[in-house]
C-alpha cells in the first residue's frame, strides 16, 4: 500500500501521466508493481507552458549552496570528487495545445562539465529500496531511500551521465539522490 501511495503521489507530481515505462534497469531491482499498465493511453498534456518558450536555467554547483539536478559522469569517493553537468530538469512540460508532445519531463543540458568536491560524509539516496518500495516525493529531489556510498559509486560507474539530484553546501556535495523519471 505504501508503495502504491508513493507511486500515485509521484504520478500526480509528474503531471498525472500513467506510464508503461518500467524502471526495470534501475539501480536496485524491478519496477514498482503498481506502475500503470502498458495499455494506458499517452499522458495528458500538462497545463504548464512549453519549455521551448523559456530559457533554461542551470544551478551553480561550484560555489555556495544549491539544490539542482545534474548528469553525473564520475564519482570518486577516495578523492572526494564528482564530475557533473548541471541540467535544467522540468516535469509537466507539454503545452495544452501541443498534440505532438508526449514528454512527461524535459531536461536541457548545460554542456558544462564541472568537477565538484564531495563533503566528508555525504548522504546518498535511491528512488527505491532493496525491497522494491519506491521512495520519491518530488522527481527533481531524487529518491529518499538511503543508499550506501559504495552502491552509489557503483551505480554511477555503471551508468555515467545519469541524472542525480545534488545538494551542495559551501561548494561541496552533501547529498546526492538518483533521479527517477516516469
Amino acid at each position: 500500500m505504501k508503495r502504491a501511495l508513493v507511486v500515485l503521489a509521484f504520478v500526480l507530481v509528474a503531471g498525472g501521466c500513467g506510464t508503461a515505462s518500467k524502471p526495470g534497469a534501475g539501480p536496485s531491482g524491478p519496477a514498482p508493481s503498481s506502475a500503470a499498465p502498458s495499455s494506458e493511453p499517452p499522458s495528458k498534456p500538462s497545463t504548464k507552458p512549453s519549455p521551448e518558450k523559456s530559457a533554461p536555467t542551470f544551478g551553480d554547483v561550484t560555489q555556495g549552496s544549491t539544490k539542482t539536478v545534474v548528469k553525473m559522469y564520475s564519482f570518486d569517493a577516495d578523492n572526494q570528487s564528482a564530475v557533473v553537468e548541471p541540467i535544467d530538469f522540468k516535469t509537466g512540460v507539454c503545452a495544452p495545445d501541443d498534440d505532438e508532445c508526449h514528454a512527461e519531463w524535459d531536461a536541457q543540458d548545460s554542456h558544462r562539465k564541472v568537477t565538484v568536491p564531495v563533503a566528508d560524509e555525504p548522504k546518498f539516496f535511491n528512488w527505491q529500496n532493496d525491497n522494491g518500495d519506491v521512495c520519491i516525493k518530488k522527481p527533481e529531489d531524487g529518491g529518499t531511500c538511503p543508499m550506501k556510498p559504495k552502491a552509489f559509486a557503483t551505480w554511477i560507474k555503471e551508468n555515467p551521465g545519469e541524472m542525480v539530484a545534488v545538494t551542495t553546501d559551501n561548494g561541496e556535495i552533501t547529498r546526492a539522490a538518483l533521479v527517477y523519471v516516469p
Binding site: C17, T19, A20, S21, K22, P23, G24, A25, G26, S38, E40, P42, S43, E52, P56, T62, Y73, S74, D76, N79, Q80, S81, A82, V83, D99, E100, C101, H102, A103, E104, W105, A107, Q108, D109, H111, R112, K113, V114, T115, V116, P117, P160, G161, M163, Y180, V181, P182
Partner: protein, 536 residues
C-alpha cells in the same frame, strides 16, 4: 557506397574528420566521418541556404534535441549536432549496410519470414521514435538500412525542420516521398496537423513495398499516386495473407482508424505469437516485446530497452541472420569481429558525443583533486594532485601531457588557467585544438610566453614575447582567446601575443596541459589550477 570527397568539400567539421561522401539529399550532403574516438559516423551537412535562416536553426535545434531522446533501438542514433555552427551539421550513427530499397531493387520482394521480421523491426523503431515524442515524417525504404542484418530506421524527426521552413518548401516540395505519404499530409487547406499516425501509414506502405515490390497506391505519376492515396483502397493482393489485415489497418484514410505504433507491435506480435516466434530470432522478439511495454515520455524508456538492445547487439547477427535475404546482408553478417566493433549497433552513444546541441561545451575544474583530469605517470613524466593543484613533471622526455577530458572544442573558444613555473628551465605547456599529437601550443616560461604550432614535435610559426621578471613559483593567469581563427594570449589580463590559426586540420580539438623542458635539463616541474574552457 562511399564516394571520394569533391573539391571544396570540408575535410573536417566539428572534430569529425570527413572521409568521403555517402550521398546528397534535400537537406545537404552526407559524409562518412570519423570521430575523435575512432568511431565511424555519418555527418549530415546542411545546405547553405538553410543555414542562413534563424527560423531553420531554431527548428533544427529543437528537433535534434527531441531526436536524441529516441532509444538506440532499431534506430540509427543521433550522436551530435551543432545548429549554431557556420555550417550546421548533424552526426548520426553510421549504418554500414544496404537500404531496404536497394535490397528490393536487387533481389525483389522479401520472403514471408523476412518480411515479418522487417515489419516488426520497423514497427519497433516507430514505437521507440514515437515513445520519445518524435515523429519521423519521412519513413520510406531508403530510410531503412540493414546493419549486420538488423533493420535500422534513419533520419527520424529531422524532416520537420525543413518542412516548416516555408521559404524553401512549396506544396510541390513537401518533405517526404509521395508514395509513402498519408492522406492528411496532402490536406493543405485545413492545415491538419501531421501526427504519429502518418508514420504508421508510411509503415504500411513500406511493408507493402517490401512484400510485393510495389507501393500500395502505385501509379504512373506522383500526382496520380497522390490521387489514389486520397481516394482508392490500397492494392495488397500480393502481400502474404497473414500481414494483409494489419497493413490494411495502417493504410486507413482516416488517421484515427490506424493503430498506434505500440498497438501495431501488439498486432504483429500477438496475432500469431507462434508464427512470430518461428520467424524471428528470440533476441529481436525480446526487444520488440520490451518496446511495446514502453509508452511515450521518458528517458526511462531508454533504460528499459537497453538491456534487450544489448542482447541483440551482442548476438550481432540480428534478425536476418537466420534468414539471409541477400548476399550483401549475408556479407555484413559475416563481418569480422573488428568490423562488428566498429559498428556498435544499438549501443548508447559515448558521452563525448553529447555536447553541442544547444551550445558548445565548457569545462570548469579547480584541478585540486582528480576529476576531469586524472593522475598520470609513465617513463616520460607524471602528473599528480599536490598542494591543491595539478603538478606536472617531465621524466625521460622533454615534454609530457597530463591525462584530461576528451571533450572536443571547435570554433571560437577560450582557455583560462593558472600556470606556475616551479623549476628552472621549465615551461607550462597549454595545448588547444589538439588532435592526436598535433595542436597549437602556448608555452608559459619564466621569462617569456610563446605560441606556435606543434605537429608531433615539429614546431612552426612560433611567436614569442618577453614577460616581466618573476621568481620561480609565481603564478600567472593565462587566457587563450580564439575568435575568428585568431588566437590571442593574455597573461594576467594583458594581451601579449596573437596568431592566426590557419591549419585546416586543426579546426577543433582537445585542451591539454603539461610540462615542457626548455633547456633539456631534465625533471622540470610546472603546476596548473583553476581551468575553465569555454565555447564562445
Amino acid at each position: 557506397m562511399t564516394d571520394p570527397l569533391r573539391p571544396g568539400d570540408p575535410v573536417e567539421l566539428g572534430g569529425y574528420r570527413l572521409l568521403g561522401r555517402l550521398g546528397q539529399g534535400g537537406m545537404g550532403a552526407v559524409f562518412l566521418g570519423r570521430g575523435g574516438d575512432g568511431r565511424l559516423v555519418a555527418v549530415k551537412v546542411i545546405r547553405p541556404e538553410y543555414a542562413s535562416e534563424a527560423e531553420f536553426r531554431g527548428r533544427f535545434r529543437s528537433e535534434v534535441n527531441r531526436a536524441r531522446q529516441v532509444p538506440p533501438f532499431c534506430t540509427a542514433e543521433v550522436l551530435d549536432a551543432d545548429p549554431d555552427h557556420p555550417t550546421p551539421y548533424l552526426v548520426v550513427e553510421y549504418v554500414d549496410g544496404p537500404s531496404l530499397s536497394q535490397v528490393i531493387a536487387e533481389q525483389g520482394p522479401l520472403t514471408a519470414g523476412n518480411l515479418h521480421s522487417v515489419a516488426v523491426g520497423v514497427a519497433t523503431a516507430l514505437a521507440a521514435i514515437h515513445g520519445a515524442g518524435v515523429i519521423h515524417r519521412d519513413l520510406k525504404p531508403a530510410n531503412v538500412l540493414f546493419a549486420l542484418g538488423t533493420p535500422k530506421v534513419i533520419d527520424f524527426g529531422i524532416a520537420r525542420a525543413f518542412e516548416v521552413t516555408s521559404q524553401h518548401t512549396r506544396t510541390d516540395q513537401m518533405v517526404g516521398t509521395v508514395a509513402y505519404m498519408a492522406p492528411e499530409r496532402f490536406d493543405t487547406d485545413h492545415h491538419t496537423p501531421v501526427g504519429p499516425a502518418a508514420d504508421v501509414f508510411a509503415w504500411g506502405a513500406v511493408v507493402a513495398y517490401a512484400g510485393t515490390g510495389r507501393t500500395p497506391f502505385q501509379a504512373d505519376s506522383p500526382a496520380a499516386t497522390a490521387a489514389r492515396i486520397l481516394t482508392q483502397p490500397p492494392d495488397l493482393s500480393r502481400l502474404p495473407a497473414s500481414l494483409q489485415p494489419v497493413v490494411a489497418r495502417t493504410l486507413a484514410k482516416d488517421p484515427r482508424e490506424r493503430p498506434t505504433a505500440h498497438e501495431l507491435l501488439d498486432l504483429l506480435l500477438d496475432v500469431d505469437q507462434a508464427e512470430a516466434t518461428q520467424v524471428m530470432r528470440p533476441e529481436l522478439l525480446r526487444v520488440a516485446e520490451a518496446a511495446r511495454r514502453t509508452r511515450p515520455g521518458s528517458r526511462v524508456v531508454r533504460r528499459v530497452v537497453l538491456a534487450a538492445v544489448a542482447a541483440l547487439t551482442l548476438v550481432g547477427g540480428g534478425l536476418l541472420a537466420a534468414h539471409s535475404v541477400v548476399p550483401r546482408i549475408q556479407s555484413a553478417l559475416n563481418a569480422s569481429p573488428a568490423a562488428v566493433q566498429q559498428q556498435p549497433v544499438g549501443k548508447p552513444s559515448p558521452t563525448p558525443s553529447r555536447k553541442r546541441v544547444i551550445q558548445g561545451p565548457s569545462i570548469f575544474d579547480r584541478l585540486d583533486r582528480p576529476g576531469q583530469w586524472t593522475p598520470t605517470r609513465d617513463d616520460s613524466g607524471r602528473c599528480e594532485f599536490t598542494n591543491d593543484r595539478l603538478e606536472a613533471t617531465t621524466g625521460g622526455a622533454n615534454w609530457f601531457a597530463c591525462k584530461g577530458p576528451a571533450d572536443i572544442f571547435a570554433g571560437d573558444q577560450s582557455v583560462t588557467v593558472d600556470a606556475t613555473v616551479l623549476t628552472s628551465g621549465a615551461c607550462a605547456s597549454i595545448w588547444f585544438r589538439k588532435v592526436e599529437e598535433a595542436g597549437y601550443q602556448v608555452l608559459v616560461c619564466a621569462k617569456d610566453v610563446r605560441i606556435r604550432l606543434d605537429d608531433e614535435g615539429a614546431v612552426s610559426g612560433e611567436s614569442k614575447k618577453n614577460l616581466p621578471p618573476a621568481e620561480l613559483g609565481h603564478t600567472r593567469r593565462i587566457e587563450i582567446a580564439v575568435q575568428d581563427q585568431k588566437a590571442t594570449v593574455y597573461v594576467d589580463g594583458i594581451a601579449q601575443l596573437s596568431t592566426t590559426l590557419d591549419e585546416p586540420s586543426l579546426a577543433a580539438g582537445r585542451v591539454e596541459f603539461g610540462p615542457y623542458d626548455d633547456i633539456q635539463e631534465g625533471d622540470t616541474k610546472v603546476a596548473f589550477a583553476n581551468v575553465e574552457v569555454l565555447t564562445l
